[in-house]
Symmetry: C2
Subunit: 414 residues, 2 copies
Amino acid sequence: MDIDSANTTAVTRMMEARPILKSVATARDVIPGMKDNLFLHAGPPIEWARMSGPLRGAIIGAMLFEGIAKSEAEAVSMVERGEVEFDACHHHGAVGPMAGVTSASMKVYVVENAEHGNKSFSNLNEGYGKVLRYGAYSQEVLKKLRWMNDVLGVALADALAVSNGIDMRALIAEALHMGDEGHNRNKAGSLLYLKLISPLIAKVVKDDAMESEVLQFIGDNALSVLNPVMAACKAMTDAAHGVEGSTIVTTMARNGTDFGIRVSGLGERQWFTAPAEIPVGLFFSGFSQADANPDIGDSAITETAGIGGFAMATAPAIVTFVGGTPKDAMNATLEMYEITFAESKYFTMPSLDFRGTPTGIDIRKVVELGITPRINTGIAHKNAGVGQVGAGLVRPPLTIFEQALLAYAEKYNL
Amino acid sequence: MDIDSANTTAVTRMMEARPILKSVATARDVIPGMKDNLFLHAGPPIEWARMSGPLRGAIIGAMLFEGIAKSEAEAVSMVERGEVEFDACHHHGAVGPMAGVTSASMKVYVVENAEHGNKSFSNLNEGYGKVLRYGAYSQEVLKKLRWMNDVLGVALADALAVSNGIDMRALIAEALHMGDEGHNRNKAGSLLYLKLISPLIAKVVKDDAMESEVLQFIGDNALSVLNPVMAACKAMTDAAHGVEGSTIVTTMARNGTDFGIRVSGLGERQWFTAPAEIPVGLFFSGFSQADANPDIGDSAITETAGIGGFAMATAPAIVTFVGGTPKDAMNATLEMYEITFAESKYFTMPSLDFRGTPTGIDIRKVVELGITPRINTGIAHKNAGVGQVGAGLVRPPLTIFEQALLAYAEKYNL
């Protein structure tokens, strides 16, 4: 078996995928297998008993949002009576940042890969601070979620309906030339998104005050485009999955308890997991490292697709948010070339003479060199109901790559 | 006399100036000394006989726009009969990119320096290609100018009227962390401008199609914010002018024939001029170096204020537009530290560990080292009526700094 040839196929499919943001729709109408008592979450599958604080908080919040529970206590007892179901976003073509909790009534972005035909989904971004995805579920959090679903989501849906869609690969490529790395820094990308969506919103939203509020929200949230970017990366990495013999990682995801990966040449639902590490970084005023939950979120799909922590060399200003120096950011990218199979054809970094980003993590290289991927991440408070407390850097445990390589050797009789 | 102390005063005034974009208004109503037969232009003062093609073209276009001439021939004969007057934008608190031609009916940005109280002005940006500021004046060019004046300009005026103004120093600082240098690359700044202005435009423009068109125009023009940025730099550098004993340059400007500078400790209208160089750079398809006009435009006010070519280290992607490599861009900035008096307190560059941009050109250092300032610039076709043909780099002639230093020595009996 020619592993390099399989990896070339996988990485080429990943890079040649052309994710187009096509629409915004209600989750139950578009996400395969979505139903009213199902709550999707970030990372590999996990049962309630093992869920961390922020994931539990986000599930409680989503149950309140859906109106199937009236209080935290009621939500918890419903969960304990087995009246709701959980599954990984990744099992439904979806990805969500941090807790990633996505429920049936939520509006979601729909991305289509124009090259290979697969679809992907992600919820809408709430901005920074006390937000559901970090496990907060106060009235204020729920009120914002309702506005996002009923006003912002409708405006985005109507706007995209009168467009030909947004080419996310082109948007990401441009943002990487504007100091974004596409995971924790999506400032330029969010403004490029505003630029593309605002003339459409002007056409479809009739109420001036509402329209002004929508444009303000999109523009003020430097993470507005994170979720479409993640869905785009999901569409790219899904296109690379299932290539017989490939050792390329097609998923990295964390549920706040476990870090899980999947590999192109191994099974569709074959996760390799181990306890997630606690990110190290900069904390918001009043919080410290002791408050940090273990690593959480599907957003490591960005690194899986060759951006995020892998593209930090192009985003030196990110160190004000995640810590370290611009030199560290440069070194993070350079190190990732050691464990990747290719350099991106479309995502380039001016500061490295327009070199393509390190793309396609090869489990063989990770294990051989003992170098694990770098991930930029937000940091959630470890307790339910609090929210974001900082941002920083983290790596997956090496053992999951070792497990994957063993499973690979077994499957392919090596 | 303590020159360093004078320069500290001048550069501190330049950096501490806080330019706020307050409004858009008609030139005749706000620009001091503006009148119906007066045409302001970029650079030091110049008579018609010595004007280059693109400046003549822009003046003809502005006369057609004003309706005081019906044809090119009529415009030229009116000029030759002395029926119109010319003056430097800089003599009226104004700045304009390239030809910089500003006439009485044109809408202009009004910037106020909240720290020192002075005002500055700049016209609206037309985008790339066949545009008045590069000397084009076809019907298509005039039609766009009319739309800009009657639709875009009114929308911007109404939008700013319901705001507290836009803090241009903060906008520039943020754009420099997003890969802009603020002169030839204003991609991020223009999107930051869109972000701030779009919720206001949503409030004031009642017609959906018109509003959509306005947002599209602002978002699609990666130079939308150039003119407010230039006006901001003008407000900053004007605040630094007139400091007794200071050797800091407060104006660099070109009219397509001459390059002129002014110096803080010398006269308000005391220009030092010499023939402008021809920029070297990358040309649009179908054009070459042989088509290039000598250096033109007031936009070198950006370098005078410590951004533009001086901040290229933070904008490596600009080399796709002006030529060279990211390393050249880095070196351009490093070289400018040799001839400047200070490092900006507010404009920092992540790629240089957040070092402040080189700020405040000192004529003593320029002459002593023989290093002239680096300027990023658009390149105009040398003939009237054509337009932009490329973009590149240029430097002022050394002799004007020598002239200035002689005048300084004479004035201060050194």
